[in-house]
Symmetry: none
């Protein structure tokens, strides 16, 4: 991408980013048309390609941008003392919720990114997907997994919970308008249930 993008007025940057996130989130990489993106952003076709070179370049940039932003939100808010796996997860969910204020489509974009089936898009985002996963693992080092019942294989539990939360959000995205608060309530319900099943006592 062309670094001069950051010299644009913040308002225009955000307009372009939000428009792109929206179109990619709603349609997925392949069905997102650059025509729709520039219409939504109120800019010209040429400008998009001037700054991002290609549709894939734009997608790649957005991936970077979102992962960086989410990392920041999560790093800021987390409570370093907490050791309960499920409580930490709930904190992360709360942090994500706050990221949606500025960029309403950011979460949807990240969820869609992980389901992307376009080979190009997958290649372009591989690094960031790994990146994000690493962050979660880093955070989760603090979790005290010894609280888990003996029957609960901790790796499997963690993967299951991860998949569960992503699917919940994906489902809401697909069945119409995604409502952050409703999702948050659902997510907490699941986490509480799993917690009561997995933690001792």
């Amino acid at each position: 991408m062309n670094e001069k993008f950051f010299d644009l007025k913040t308002e225009k940057q955000d307009r372009m980013i939000n428009a792109s996130l929206k179109i990619f989130s709603v349609n997925g990489y392949q069905y997102a048309s650059t025509d729709d993106i520039v219409k939504e952003a109120g800019i010209s076709k040429g400008l998009l390609f001037h700054y991002f070179g290609s549709k894939l370049g734009l997608y790649s940039f957005l991936t970077d941008y979102c992962v960086r932003y989410i990392k920041m939100e999560i790093t800021n808010i987390k409570n370093d003392k907490e050791t309960d796996y499920f409580v930490i997860l709930k904190d992360i969910e709360t942090a994500k919720l706050s990221a949606l204020k500025k960029f309403p489509y950011m979460q949807q974009f990240l969820i869609m990114m992980e389901r992307e089936d376009s080979p190009d898009a997958m290649k372009a985002t591989a690094e960031n997907r790994t990146n994000l996963k690493a962050l979660y693992q880093e955070i989760m080092k603090k979790a005290d997994l010894s609280k888990f019942r003996a029957e609960a294989n901790s790796l499997r539990i963690m993967k299951m919970v991860d998949i569960m939360l992503k699917s919940l959000m994906y489902e809401e995205i697909k069945t119409g308008a995604f409502k952050p608060d409703h999702y948050h309530t659902e997510a907490v319900s699941y986490l509480d249930m799993i917690s009561s099943l997995v933690n001792k006592n």
Copy 2:
């Protein structure tokens, strides 16, 4: 579709079906090119359209075919007496495994079908998706959910398990060659673990 397709030698039918399943599974509806399909099947472009009318017609046929096939496998193998939710699920997994012998890409195709984001493809498969879901629900009526611990909300548990199994397979598909046996072992491990957490005692 043109019913004369079924008059072709079974070998050719299977070659066409397998090739289509493969290309659609690997690329998704939109990115699956009819050129690739005919190349893989070793037939001409015209023939494909002679039998299936359109790319969407082919996709629609495959959906029908797979759902019907899987339903048959599941109906045949299930043990009517069993009431344990997790044991029933394991029986279903075993049934699916056997379906893969003839059509290696059938499961992948069905998994991809449920994630399809092309509006056309979604419309064409809506009925079959509902259909398949109904079959699972029918089978699951026999499950005795009173075995679940009080903390386990049965609807949430069932949804979670469903998502879990699909994601497991999807993950294997996406990270290279899908190996039925490996998937099966994994699936059983998860089911056993969840069972031990959810069932009383």
Copy 3:
């Protein structure tokens, strides 16, 4: 074409000819599909091409066949003594009417042939069109044009009448089912009117 066509049973020959005439008449050369023709004739695709080599070859054969047939009908029936231009024309119309008994689509085919806009079809039928025109001119040599009023340029009158009759039939063909008797009545009305305007007294 393959002359062995004439060794086929007359019934089959006629079935193939009638089917072809029908499909070409109704759709015109370009929109007539060989699939429709073989379906209508109850024969296989291969047979059609075995005898006629190509769609154009079939079309060309039909042109020949119809022109020859119509020439025969006209030659047989005409009254050699008649000299009134318009009476001769009415005799010809009556002769054409009788040709429709065996080949219902023959007239329509010939009318459509003259309007054909496919370059290939036009080239293939040029000779026969000229041929047919020559026959009419030959017959019309007997007409006593001195009966015409001075203001009536005989060449222009003849061309006008010719065009008029063809258009009348074309119109009936295009607006649904062509009814020979209705057409015949109309044609005679026009001929009578023009006669009364053009002939002296």
Copy 4:
């Protein structure tokens, strides 16, 4: 169609229109290839579809455009006082002649349009064909048909003249290069002759 077409330089608009008129006139709807049109117009494939959406959309636009243009020419030039049917017709012919200066293929296009046998093309032009016919009828209300001899059925005479003029032009178009002036002379000759036969005295 995309209204931005009219923002293009007039020269380019005319180039695209003329090229399309030419290719459609010469080949008819079905045989007119979009490849030929863009080659003739010196533009890319994409541009054609950008402005007109589809081959049928282009055809439909041209129909509109020509009918509107011809209506304008006819409305401008006609002499409101004239009541002689044949003189009015000659005025119309003169008006048409002037339309050909800017768009040489306009008349040919309209003539071919009335003979079109493609179902799609026919549906798309039905309204405009009716439209054009209505204009002629409106103009012809001023004609004083009481001048006609008793033997001349006015409806039949008018239809005959109409068919005659169209066929004259069609014939010239089909037998090579259409020459407006030559056609005009021919048309006037026919009109004068018919006039002298049909009008009293």
